[in-house]
Amino acid sequence: MRLEARAHPGWRDALRAGVLALVAVMALAAGLVAVAGAPVGRTFGLVLDGAFGSVFAFTETLTRAIPLIFTGLAATIAFRARLFNIGAEGQFYAGAIAAVAVGGGALGEPSPAVFLAMMLAAAVVGALLLLGSALMKRQWGVDEVVTTLLLNFIVLLGVSALLDGPMKDPLALGWPQSVALPPELELSRLVPQTRVHSGLLIGLAAALGLWALLRFTTWGFDIRATGANVRAAAYAGVPVTRTTILVALLSGGLAGLGGAVEVAGRAGYVTLDMSPGYGYSGIVIAMLAGLHPLAVVAASVLVAGVLVGADSMSRQAGVPTYLADAVVAGALLSVLAAAMLSRYRLRFDTR
């Protein structure tokens, strides 16, 4: 079995590969549902219904998509520059706790300035975390994949310590959660009686901004060149170190900002389970979006739909929600394989 480049890859090959990926994912999902003993068709229907079946369902999907947009963008900008940021989960939590620390009364009365400071603090904290890993890579050649991963656990423990101690909400009856943000600093609802909040607009703005940065600016060129071929980029005069630092700041900042937006838009306080793996899902979303910032929005809504739909379905049909995680992971691998198979063919001979 080996790969052989197709002579003239065309849209037909891409389409065929895409269909193959879709079929594979569907088969996986159907198989899992069958193992759980539920009727396949009805279960799929419940998932779709729970995700997009009503206006309320759709707003739920959008609400779930908001943090995914941020972590997806964070992964996108990082991976574009070949900086493998797997630490978005930790940066997310760090941003959330920083936002609550700043907005929870440290800077006095709530005001637009405090709100801005809150968001900025969250971005800065997330950025610094990733910068640490990036500098370790630059200085000592330490692979950032492992350091960012390990930092996730360290950050989570740190947040847990803060929630048990200095930032604990005294009114929460022993449940570890942080002090709450004053309601003035929370993000307003976009649609009344639903949970979707104006963080969505911030996310959309971030996606647009990132797209414009990559496509129209010199820094965007620097980032893309560094990620595509760092030696050639350096030769052409791209300031590689400065670019990598910029990318680390942007990526970590976006993830941290995502945490702040999530806190301000949803509960208003930080808990240890506020992120069911948004950081890791962000990586999947980035790859599904082909590392394109605008496509990240679409991919986020799609993945959020799967997650929300599975939650809703699970309440009714009893199939565990981990179905969604498995499907998302399977989709990642299928899409990657399909992308490769659209440009190469599998030959089953010796040479």
Binding site: L3, L32, F153, M340
Partner: protein
């Protein structure tokens, strides 16, 4: 100070050290085996979960303990085949493929667990491996046979790696796959074999958690130990002997942090102590990376016939 010295000579402490180190030995050897052949296997975190679940579940269903270990190895090996297909045949990014497999394996394991036990809040237990009372050696006799297996595997794998033709081919595949190809040996076959067998070891690491260290499967059981193994491989300079050393060192500090936590109750939040192993892993990684001599073809896919 006296307390620390007392600790260092107490048998229960070293028993704990070995117990923490054992899954790391299996896991690190597994990652090492794959990386020596040129393939980074970031699926380890997920494969440990899958091994933990499948091994435990097999025993829960009535199979003997060693059969459970084999099941764990087998399930992980299947994921290994998938990883090898994605990275060796399809030449996809080894980072992303590995992370995808971790996510998939973890999700599938949790899914299967919830399907099998939809309503339990306390995980059902099995009878784990019994300590080896029949052994006259002090610290070892409190360990399970899996620890003995881990200790035996280290020199065994070292011998295969350095003293057999297959081991030479494996090392070559990780250094210069073109050399392997030009001697008529299929690079793909060598790498597939390495990834599948390395993955099996990772599965056994997971099985240790549910069949020896604890007696049940619960969520977040692996808790980053897989990533620690990846860091330990760099620390070990890709050598089996040093991998054992690294695992023991990590076990030492982990057991130490637990004792310190218990002794020092109240002064520092317990989370700080729990952080220690991860921080140490990063430190070990930094220290080792400065003088690391990685296999030269690590993470470079080889497409046969390409000149």
């Amino acid at each position: 100070m006296n307390a620390v010295l007392d600790l260092l000579v107490s048998v229960p402490f070293w028993v704990a050290v070995l117990r923490v180190a054992t899954p790391l030995v299996f896991g690190t050897l597994g990652v090492l085996w794959c990386e020596r052949a040129g393939v980074l296997n970031l699926g380890i975190e997920g494969l440990m979960v899958a091994g933990a679940f499948s091994g435990w579940f097999a025993v829960y269903l009535g199979l003997p303990l060693w059969a459970g270990v084999l099941v764990a190895a087998g399930v992980a090996a299947l994921f290994g085949v998938l990883h090898a297909f994605l990275t060796v045949t399809l030449a996809l990014s080894q980072h992303v493929a590995g992370l995808g497999i971790t996510m998939l394996a973890t999700a599938l394991s949790y899914f299967a667990y919830r399907v099998a036990f939809p309503k339990v809040s306390t995980p059902p237990t099995v009878t784990p491996f019994a300590p080896m009372d029949w052994l006259p050696i002090p610290v070892l006799r409190e360990q399970t046979p899996l620890t003995l297996l881990a200790l035996v595997l280290v020199p065994l794998l070292a011998w295969v790696l350095y003293r057999t033709p297959a081991g030479l081919a494996l090392r070559m595949a990780g250094e210069n796959p073109k050399a392997v190809d030009s001697q008529g040996i299929s690079v793909a076959r060598v790498r597939y074999a390495a990834v599948v067998s390395g993955s099996a070891l990772m599965g056994v690491a997971g099985a240790f958690l549910t069949l020896a260290a604890f007696n049940a499967f619960f969520f977040n059981m692996v808790n980053g130990r897989g990533w620690v193994c990846v860091a330990l491989v760099v620390f070990a300079g890709w050598q089996p002997g040093k991998a054992l050393l690294g695992a023991l060192l990590f076990g030492f500090f982990d057991a130490l942090q637990l004792r310190l936590q218990q002794a020092d109750a109240g002064a520092l939040p317990h989370q700080v102590y729990l952080m220690l192993p991860y921080v140490l892993s990063i430190v070990a990684l930094v220290v080792a990376s400065r003088r690391a001599r990685a296999p030269q073809a690590l993470m470079k896919p080889y497409i046969a016939g390409e000149r």
